[in-house]
């Protein structure tokens, strides 16, 4: 049975939840599809099931998500969890599977709230078992109350401090914190400090996390280069240079992180144009102030539309929903603008610290231009040197690298090599990332079994036979 909705929201993080609630408040029929078993996105993952001790470890920026997640419990929003969206067609038809059964629905508007992924950090040895993202370690804690002992954290960005502080609170402090940002980055970021002071709560939080890490006597190294993970069949240690000499720290787990980037997979699969953003060093979808793309009825909100964090995500979800309500006739333009004004103001205030954070914690330079032997495409085991070689042979774009050596053609569909391939090609060919472009993303954007497809066809046949 093909079901119809005014709005289908994809992703139940802060942007998706807020978008769904705002749209429902304006009387729209809303379906919220989310691949996780419970709403919250990665930031508020499993917040409904957390307990006292986990809440204390994770902190109030996590537990405050409970209210948002609980506000979804209302009859006029249909929330399907465990729903893998694998295709969006004709800008209005959404295919998804739940527990091995495929379904299809139609929407007047679609709000993509697919969030962010951690920026891939290709360093030597990053494919060894025991290497994971810092975010993954945090998910283990949020989802399952599991901590990593014997771990070293490496990279840059505010999440690094948060995860380190949470590990300290859990009684399993990291063995060391290797920070790749430099003093030069810090000085350059001062240019944006006025803006940052307007978003001062972020700075205060950062400083208090650092104080916790210091108090626990976690060794910190700043301006680190030449990070490499050592080991044969698993992580055995991590080596790096702190500007004075080479160090090696034996460890069982290496947690990597150098920022987050929009998860553009769904937006790209429906042809949304993306542009390189120099400040955030990644591609972001082209959207207007409401998150509307150039494709009729397709909106993007939250970190998927550009990194702003959870608070900004919730606000952009609301703004998108207000414009969707206007498009569908539930609000006039002036009603929309009136409701949007305070939200926009709040969003701008929340974004004030962003230029400072982006400049103070840039991506790790060695991972943006990895040495030749470092694997870039984890799935097909294509190295940075391979990509450079393709460029020398005349390869100008990421799609062509697939023909040269299968990069981006494994199960992750380029999610963890796409940006690196674009940047390496751009550097080799001395053209911009925009000119270099990105992989063409084709459906299915999540795996779907033949059985699921067959089941879907049967349903449609039955329907037409009736």
């Amino acid at each position: 049975m093909m079901r119809d909705f005014d709005l289908v929201v994809i992703g139940a993080g802060p942007a998706g939840i807020s978008g769904a609630i705002t749209a429902a408040n304006e009387g729209l029929s809303v379906l919220l599809l989310d691949e996780q078993p419970r709403a919250g996105g990665q930031i508020y993952r499993n917040v409904e099931r957390t307990n006292q001790s986990r809440s204390e470890i994770l902190g109030s920026d996590y537990t405050k998500g409970l209210g948002l997640v609980q506000s979804l419990n209302r009859a006029d929003i249909e929330h399907i969890h465990g729903a893998n969206v694998w295709q969006i067609e004709n800008q209005n038809t959404v295919y998804y599977s739940v527990n091995g059964t495929a379904s299809v629905c139609r929407a007047k508007c679609i709000l993509l709230a697919t969030g962010a992924i951690e920026r891939p950090m290709p360093v030597p040895g990053w494919t060894l078992p025991g290497v994971m993202t810092a975010g993954a370690a945090q998910i283990l804690l949020k989802q399952s109350g599991i901590v990593c002992e014997n771990a070293v954290i490496a990279g840059s960005g505010p999440l690094l401090y948060l995860v380190a502080a949470q590990m300290v609170r859990a009684g399993t402090p990291p063995l060391a914190l290797l920070e790749t940002q430099t003093k030069t980055d810090f000085l350059a970021s001062m240019r944006y400090v006025t803006g940052a002071l307007r978003g001062a709560s972020y700075l205060v939080k950062g400083l208090s996390l650092l104080a916790e890490i210091r108090k626990a006597r976690v060794p910190r190294y700043v301006g680190v280069t030449d990070i490499a993970i050592d080991g044969h069949d698993k992580v055995e240690g991590i080596s790096f240079n702190d500007g004075r000499k080479k160090h090696t720290i034996p460890c069982g787990t290496a947690l990597l992180h150098h920022g987050v980037v929009p998860n553009t997979q769904a937006a790209r699969s429906v042809g949304v144009k993306h542009q390189w953003n120099d400040q955030q060093h990644c591609f972001v979808p082209e959207v207007d102030l409401w998150g509307h793309t150039a494709s009729d009825g397709i909106y993007v909100a939250g970190d998927g539309a550009g990194i702003g964090g959870a608070n900004v995500a919730a606000l952009t979800g609301e703004l998108a929903a207000l414009d969707i309500a206007r498009t569908l006739g539930a609000l006039s333009e002036s009603e929309r603008d009136k409701k949007a004004a305070p939200i926009t103001q709040k969003r701008n205030r929340e974004l004030a610290a962003r230029p400072f954070i982006d400049r103070a914690y840039p991506p790790y330079a060695n991972a943006l231009a990895p040495e030749d032997s470092t694997i870039i495409c984890r799935c097909e085991e294509v190295t940075a040197g391979d990509i450079r070689q393709y460029a020398k042979l005349g390869c100008i774009g990421p799609n062509q690298t697939k023909a040269f050596g299968r990069s981006g053609m494994g199960p992750c569909q380029g999610r963890y090599c796409g940006l690196a391939v674009t940047e390496i090609l751009a550097a080799e060919n001395q053209i911009s990332p925009d000119q270099t472009g990105y992989y063409r993303i084709r459906p299915p954007i999540k795996p779907v079994t033949l059985g699921e497809l067959v089941g879907l066809e049967l349903t449609e046949e039955k329907e037409s036979a009736e």
Partner: protein
Amino acid sequence: MKIASDFRALEPSDTTQVAVRFNDAPLKLTKGENLAAQLLAAGVLQFRKTAVSGKPRSPYCMMGACFECLVFVNGTARQACMTEVTEGMEIVMHTVGNGDDA
């Protein structure tokens, strides 16, 4: 089977432990919990072997994006981090040539 693991549960499990098998070895995991997290805590650190060089891999993103935690669950390739533990699961390391979608 209990192997030394760097991944430790903070609290004792308050839900039911169920029997599953990983590569034919019996394991007790917490029912309804995240399969990738439970396997890590049980000491499993090789979830799949790559198609190209046969090198072992373990969960990298824990959010359904990287596909490094692929395993066969009752014969079907699944992302362990997107799967909940159920009783009697037959879990097998994902390698090319041992399952339905190889």
